[in-house]
Structure formats: C-alpha cells, structure tokens
C-alpha cells in the first residue's frame, strides 16, 4: 500500500454512486490502471475536468488492497482542445482510446504504447487527417508483433503486381497468388510508407480514395486482431455528412 506518481492518458470514465467516477487510464510506468476519483461530479470539485477522457495528465495515486487505486492529485499536461470541439476528430480520438482500452493489460507496463498514444493524440490535435488513426492502428499492430507484410507477396515473395491483402494472413498477395480483398496501388504505397517510417510525409497526403482505403483497411486489420468491432469507428461513419 503506497502513494505513487505517474503520467497518464484518460481512456474512459464511468459514474460511480452519487458523485464519484471510475477512471480507466493508460500510464507511462504502470500500464493500464483503474482509479476512483471521489466527489468529482459535485459542482465544486477541482478534479472533474482534468479527469475526462482524452486528457493527458500527471497524477498521484494511492494503491490500496483492491483493484481500484484512489486518485489523490491531478495536473493537466495536455488537454488536446481541438479534439473536443470537432465532432469528427473527437470520434477519431475516441477510436484510439477504445483500441488502447482493449489492447492494454492492467498493470503491465508498456511505455512505448503510452508514448505512441500521446503522440498520436497530439498529431490529431494539430492536423485533421484520417491517416493519423490509420497510422496509429498499423504501428500498434507492429508493436504487438503483428505488422502486416506489405513489401512482398506473403505466398511467393514477389515484389511486383501486389494486388490483394488478406487480414488473416497478415499481408499482401501478388496477382498470381491473390486472396483476400483487393488493394489499390495508391493505398499500398501509403501502407508501405507508414510502416517504413515515412509517416510525416504521409500525413500531408490530400484526402482521397487512397487515404479512405487505408483508413478502412487499418480499421479492418485492427478489428480482426481485437476480434471485435470498434464502436467509435461505427459512430464516426454516421457523423460524416
């Protein structure tokens, strides 16, 4: 039983009783942690806004006997305010939080994942590109050891005429070995650049058929890995007018 400090991104918050909240967060040093924030829904609480999902915070927690740590201090590091005032970006940001909520394990430190999430939220806050989430999903899959093979045919190793991608087989196929769904040359180029480290250039790519294709593909790959649909993505599709 002890007090400890950490940095965290708030993933989700649930009401508890009359005035408390349960917070699920991904921390830098302690993996996913669930904490209880007492009295935050009362109107005079100073904690309330700082512990909302999407907040990047510096936090002090008390670890007791149970599963839930008690939050004793919170300071805001980043609020990512553009993500809160734009419905589309809000849904995209929540898709990343939802994904991390499913992927991360409780109290299993994964600082690399934490840094990836903070960076992706910051990037999305600065520029509205559908490829921010797509890149995050692909890099997260790579981090989990499930990087899709996009440079050569999974079956024969050919590097030319790559025309299809299969979610289960985790990569692309050439014209002769083709299986799975078709993938365009433009989308394949973006996939190769994201996974090859050319992310910065990819984000300035104008929105078009190839970027939407990568958006859909990366979500499909992530959902295949999670073995569940991402709710935020379904909601995002509704808000596009």
């Amino acid at each position: 039983m002890s007090l400890y400090r950490d940095q965290a991104v708030v993933l989700r918050a649930w009401k508890l009783g009359e005035a408390d909240r349960i917070i699920s967060m991904h921390t830098l040093d302690n993996g996913k942690v669930r904490g209880v924030a007492k009295g935050v829904r009362r109107t005079k609480s100073k904690f309330g806004a700082r512990l909302e999902p999407l907040s990047h915070i510096s936090i002090q927690l008390y670890r007791g006997r149970g599963d839930l740590d008690t939050i004793t201090q919170v300071e805001t590091l980043h609020r990512f305010s553009n993500l809160r005032t734009d419905p589309d970006r809000f849904a995209r940001a929540e898709a990343m939080l939802e994904c991390v909520e499913h992927v991360a394990q409780e109290r299993e430190p994964d600082p690399r994942l934490h840094v990836m999430l903070v960076r992706a939220l910051g990037t999305l806050n600065d520029q509205d590109s559908p490829l921010v989430v797509a890149s995050f999903f692909l890099k997260l899959l790579a981090h989990e050891g499930l990087q899709p093979q996009v440079d050569e045919c999974v079956s024969c190793g050919a590097t030319e005429q790559l025309e299809a991608i299969d979610l289960g087989d985790g990569g692309v196929f050439c014209r002769n070995c083709r299986r799975g769904r078709p993938v365009s040359a433009g989308a394949l180029d973006i996939l190769q650049r994201i996974l090859g480290g050319g992310l910065a250039g990819v984000l300035s790519e104008p929105v078009g058929p190839a970027t939407s294709e990568v958006d859909l593909l990366s979500t499909a790959l992530m959902e295949h890995h999670l073995e569940r649909r991402l709710r935020s993505v379904a909601v995002l599709d509704q808000t596009q007018i």
Binding site: R12, K15, G17, V40, R41, R42, T43, K44, S45, F47, G48, A49, R50, L51, E52, P53, L54, R84, T85, D86, P87, F90, A91, E94, A95, L97, E98, E101, R231, S232, A234, V235, L236, Q238, T239, I241
Partner: protein
Amino acid sequence: MSYSSTVQELIDQFGRLPGIGPKSAQRVAFYLLKAPTEDAVRLSRAIVDAKERVSFCERCFNLSEGGEECAICRDPRREERMVCVVEDAQDIVAVERTQEFRGRYHVLQGAFSPIDGVGVDQLRVKELMTRVGEEDIEEVIIATNPNLEGEATAALLAKYLKPMGVKVSRIASGLPVGGDLEYADELTLGRALEGRTTVGE
C-alpha cells in the same frame, strides 16, 4: 450458499438498474422481503402505473402524461422561437427551476459518445433538424452537461444546425466544468442561460 430462484430473480432485476451493483441489489431485495406486503405492492403498482401512463413526447421527447405531447409542448404561452436542447428529461426540471426560460425543449436522450457507440443515429438529432425545418425556431440553445461529452454534443449539433440558418448558442460557463447539470444550483444555471454564447463562429 445460493438463493432460491425467486429471490435470485429479484436480486438480478435490481442489479440491472443503473448505479446499482450486486451488493446494493442484494440489500434492496432483502429490504423488500422483510418489508410489509403493502409496501412491496405499492412499489410494484407505482412502477406499472408510471409505465402505463407516462410516455415520451412525440415532439420533444420530454416525459409526457396523458397525451402524445408533453405539458410544455401543449402550453400555448411557451415561446415557439426558442428551443433549449438537453441531454435527458431530468435536465428540463433543472432549467425550469431557474424560471429564466420560456421557450420549448428538445431532449436528445443521451450525449455524443463514440466510445459508447452513441452517435447521431442514437440521439434525437434528426428529429431536432425536422423541428428546426418545420417550426418557427429562431434560436437553439444547447444546455448539455459542461463536460467532455456535453461539449462534443454541442459541437456536433452546431455542425448539423448551422447550415440550416438557425442561431445556435451554448449556455455560458460559470457552470463548473466536469460536473453534471442536475447538480447545478438554479442561480448558477440561470446566469448561465442569460450569458449564453453563439456556437461555431
């Protein structure tokens, strides 16, 4: 030890209610089992009566008793040009307590929360757009909770309503950020209504 199926069923039913965990469900169930029969009958009758008599207003989705439209929508003294949008019907009670607002309401029946699967299709947004199109509404005042989902809901509504040429405003700060509207006192909420600001400009 396990309970008889009748007792377990009662506990399970209470456990399905919002904010009631397994421990509380057990406590309520045992309270009722020990209470006089009349008390339990009165409770069950109140539930059945409410379910039979109360429905959602066809126009604004407020609670309505004895009609297709709620008492506020039926009241001819309410101004038609202003509509106050709230997340839940209980928020109407909070706004009414301020006595600052004489227009009508629209209840979204939730807040924009992608991670919970709640988006435009799950909220009463299309119904609100229909009202803006058909009624003489000049201003839509958004009184969603001053928290993340409430702010995102306001942004979502502005995105859909602004192109329709209606004035869209948001109740002012002064409401504590991160709190629930239903906990706000009527003075603070009244001031917030007076000092509302235009959204999306």
